[in-house]
């Protein structure tokens, strides 16, 4: 084997030591195998020894399903609103008007520069505090606060993704569209945004996965999501691993299909791929 690779060459840096270009592949395989083994053993131990299946069945319905449903609802509403708002922020971010551009920049700086937990606190505790004690008109404010907080926060990230997407579309595209007599809005909608969207999809998908995970912070404002579910089960049953297993499955059940959806959308938005069909 070695002769095949080093045939005719002298010192190419692959010849010395334990870790070299030839052994790297096998080191990688060995490392991965070890990792898989440890994790599998650990998981087996958790599932067999730690997880209480009677409890698992007991808390699955309705507690877990309700919590998962809550996360799913918040994610769907938050996704639609944050992507919509993010496109607007992104468009404002590339505006030719300095004022509009600066406002968008300030918005992004604030919402990316402060923690989501803080922003949730501002919405959930700060906003009602503006009314005299007991006068705040909303009874169940946790859900609206969750949606508002997640939307404002993620619109900033998506705005940046859209800005990057728009900026990576060559200037000639806008020029070609405008020189045909199309207005700025028509050119954006028909020519620049579809390409910008394609460029930004990976970043947007990434952000939406983070949005799913960010719902865990909603436990702080008393939204009955998956972490709240864990805390309830854990404190009443003194069992950590049974609810933890469910929580892990719950998040992955949303984020994994979401990743697949993003890859599907990317493939669909690829003109070359479409043309090959």
């Amino acid at each position: 084997m070695a002769e095949t690779y080093s045939d005719g060459t002298t010192t190419d840096g692959t010849g010395e030591g334990f870790l070299n270009d030839r052994t790297l592949k096998w080191v990688g395989v060995a490392g991965s195998a070890l990792f898989t083994l440890v994790i599998a053993a650990f998981l087996a131990y958790i599932v067999v020894v730690q997880v209480n299946f009677a409890l698992l069945v007991e808390v699955f319905q309705p507690q877990f399903v309700d919590a998962l449903y809550t996360v799913l609802t918040v994610v769907v509403v938050g996704s639609v609103l944050s992507v919509t708002a993010g496109v607007i922020v992104g468009l404002a971010r590339v505006s030719k008007t300095t004022f509009t551009r600066s406002v968008a920049k300030g918005y992004i700086e604030f919402f990316r520069g402060t923690p989501l937990l803080f922003q949730l606190a501002v919405v959930f505790f700060g906003i009602p505090a503006l009314w005299p004690s007991g006068q705040f008109p909303f009874q169940n404010f946790a859900y609206p606060a969750a949606i508002i907080g997640l939307t404002l926060n993620h619109a900033a990230y998506i705005g940046e993704a859209i800005r990057g997407g728009i900026e990576s579309v060559p200037d000639g595209q806008m020029e070609a569209a405008r020189s045909l007599g199309m207005s700025y809005i028509q050119s954006m909608r028909e020519v620049v945004l579809p390409q910008a969207w394609r460029n930004a999809l990976a970043a947007i998908g990434n952000d939406q996965v983070i949005l799913v995970k960010d719902t865990s912070l909603l436990t702080f404002i008393a939204v009955p999501e998956l972490i709240s579910f864990f805390r309830n089960v854990n404190s009443t049953n003194f069992d950590a691993w049974t609810p933890l297993l469910l929580v892990a499955i719950g998040y992955l059940a949303i984020t994994v299909p979401m990743g697949m959806l993003v890859r599907y959308l990317e493939a669909r938005a690829d003109p070359a791929g479409r043309g090959d069909r």
Binding site: G172, L180, M182, A272, G275
Partner: protein, 273 residues
Amino acid sequence: MSDSAERTESESASTERDGQSAESARAAGTERPLLEFDEIDKYFGETHVLKNVSLDVPDGEVCVVIGPSGSGKSTLLRCANRLEEIQSGEIRLDGQSISAKDADINRLRQRIGMVFQSFNLFPHKTALENVALAPRKVKGMPKEKANERAADLLDRVGLSKQKGSYPNQLSGGQQQRVAIARALAMDPKVMLFDEVTSALDPELVGEVLGTMRDLADEGMTMMVVTHEMGFAREVGDRIVLMADGEIVESGEPKQFFENPETERGKRFLSRLL
């Protein structure tokens, strides 16, 4: 009075070679050229890139603008459909100001076709969709009619088989011909060509120049910035030589290429050989 008479005389002199266009101008009762640059100045920051440039392009003329790189020829062309703003002077199409602050630029641009060096086809649309897009969105043409017209135009540039192809499936020459068809789809009065063969492989230049020659033969008014001297000489009605932001010489191709009047013109030609 005498002043205006003089101007009329000089204008008719400038269009005299092209009998047809002079005739059509007379028939329309107008004596002004189709595209006019009137003492325009353009700055990029501190740099003075167009210096008091005046140029008239009469109806039906193929005006070829040549000159060394950095001479402002592409900028001049880009000013003509306001992809660049000018700082003083005026540019008019058929007497209507393009450069005025309140000009209805989207309307005016429909009458000015532009073809770019880098094609700038819309990569997410097929050749047919590229051509049909603006007529549909800007003129509100029904989809079927726009597609039908687009197909005719693609036929005309020799690409009837490539209607469903995406730009990245076409050669450079094919892409540029789609770009020409796309510009023609808006029924422009004048076509601007900005170094349209410069990004092409040498063996693909001919097909694009051929399409442009056909267009010129059909009487299209064209302003062509190019480095293709063969084309300039053969198809051009007039050669405009630019250097350092100024028009240094303007004349008939034969006259210009055989016996340039200015020192600058002589030097430019000697460098080509």
